[in-house]
Amino acid sequence: MKAHWTIAGKECVQMLRSQRGLWWLLALTSVLSAFSFLLVSNTELSLLDNAQVVYMMAGTVLAAGALLAAIMGSDAYAGENERGTLIPLLCAPVASSDLLIGKTMGLLAAWGLLLTVATPYLWAIGASGQNLWEAWFYLTLFGTPVVLGVGCLAMALSARTGSVLASLLSTTILLMLAASPLLIGPGLRGTAIGRALDAINPLAAALNTFDSVIIDSEPFSAQVTRLLLVAAWLGLCFMLSRQSAANIHFNTGKIS
């Protein structure tokens, strides 16, 4: 078996077997449950159009996925280093690219698990309306490169700095910066600066696509430019992580 499959296998099992993984799963399902409950029970939110509700849920799942990727990516090298499990990995006959691919496959599996967990929630809040299938399809198509890109960026910082905290803080700040034009509202997004930010912001590209296909029912051909943007984002982040993974910051220390 190739080393990256061995590492990916460990990452997947760790997610389901370790206490940390189970807590994260529980936290994510709690967030999705609370949000779904609000959407159906809150007086104002329950008056929203069904497509609007599905759009909001898809955005929440994407945000949760990006946050999960930031946490997992930050932990990928620096966390292992802090727990003393990185050096045994580096001492084994594993190429740095195999280690990176294995970790990225683990991220992909975590995103897959989150999508699986989110599917019944999407169905529960949007089954009675239109475009549920489109929501799920575009969440997978755009969410995967955005989430993996965030994870790869966090891994690059994690490998470079050797600190979970530094990597997590940096990635979260970048995520917040990416989300800020969206949170500020349509006023800013309508300006030239807002449009320019939208054109290079992968998170905005994904959310605008959800808006376009779920609410406005636009076809796939209208999403190609945005798809290219998120693919470029993934490519750039993967290149960065590959560069950092070849020069991992690790330290020696006492047995943990």
């Binding site: 061995t6 045994p88 001492c91 594993v94 690790f250 020696t252 220390g253 047995i255």
Partner: protein, 311 residues
Amino acid sequence: MIDIENLRLSIDGKEILRGIDLHLQPGDVYGLLGPNGAGKSTTLFALLGLCAYASGRVVVLGGDPAQDAASIRRYVGVMPEKAGFYDWMSATAYLKWYARLYGCAQNDQGRARLLEKVGLGTEAHRRIGTFSRGMKQRLAVARALMPNPKLLILDEPTNGLDPKGRRRIHDLLVEFAAVGKAGVLLCTHLLDDVDRLCNRIGIISNGFTRFEGSLSGLMGEQERRRHYRLRLEAAPDADNLPTGVTVLGPEGGWWRVQLRDRATEAPSAIWGALWHRGWRILEIRAEALSLEQIYMRHTGQEHAYAKEVAK
């Protein structure tokens, strides 16, 4: 198996290794000694291809770690000083997973035998998170032995173990080395480990190799130097000494002195000279140098007092 000559290495602009020599042949159990921060672990990382070196010659198992790190590591079992594990795995599951990284097809019996050897036979299916520090240390030794390596590298393998645990690790290493085809590089600051296990040693300090050679040769050479303990009536005048005498310092009511290798005078003449300089000697005892004293000398820690006196 390992040929390192004049290895120099810098990390973040700071020169960590400034001239390391290390030669290990098949069948050798080589003790790499040095104080904390001397560059022992960095040397190990360099020979595994984990740290890029600036200059020098490094050959491990016939290859250059800078070029063929992954293929060299396939034949090297390593127990790093920071021996972490995935706490949620059992010992046997961890070894099975780690063996896959080496491409080893070790069966359940082989794993059970290995765990039995390190004294974890009954704990094989217990979660590693519940292991004590000593048990983790023994599991780390099992992990290093697992790929049946040609070269075994152990960084502080008995650090923090109780005497029984240390003995068990010693026995394992003796058994592994007895086969004669593999080499063992033992990085430690526990001189008892070196005394018991190693046939060759290297002492490094401040990034330099201070000594490299066979342990028996080193001990024999040191015996030719003359060390004495003197019981004195009062503290001596250490500034006024005859040629060839170095005061190493007071210790437990005695004063330790060294007579230089090529001191022309017989010891009795030197004691006479010291008496005339006011040294009221009550008793004289010759002493054999221990490995610890040799280590202290090569790492520059023994002469701290002598330097102070010289000032």
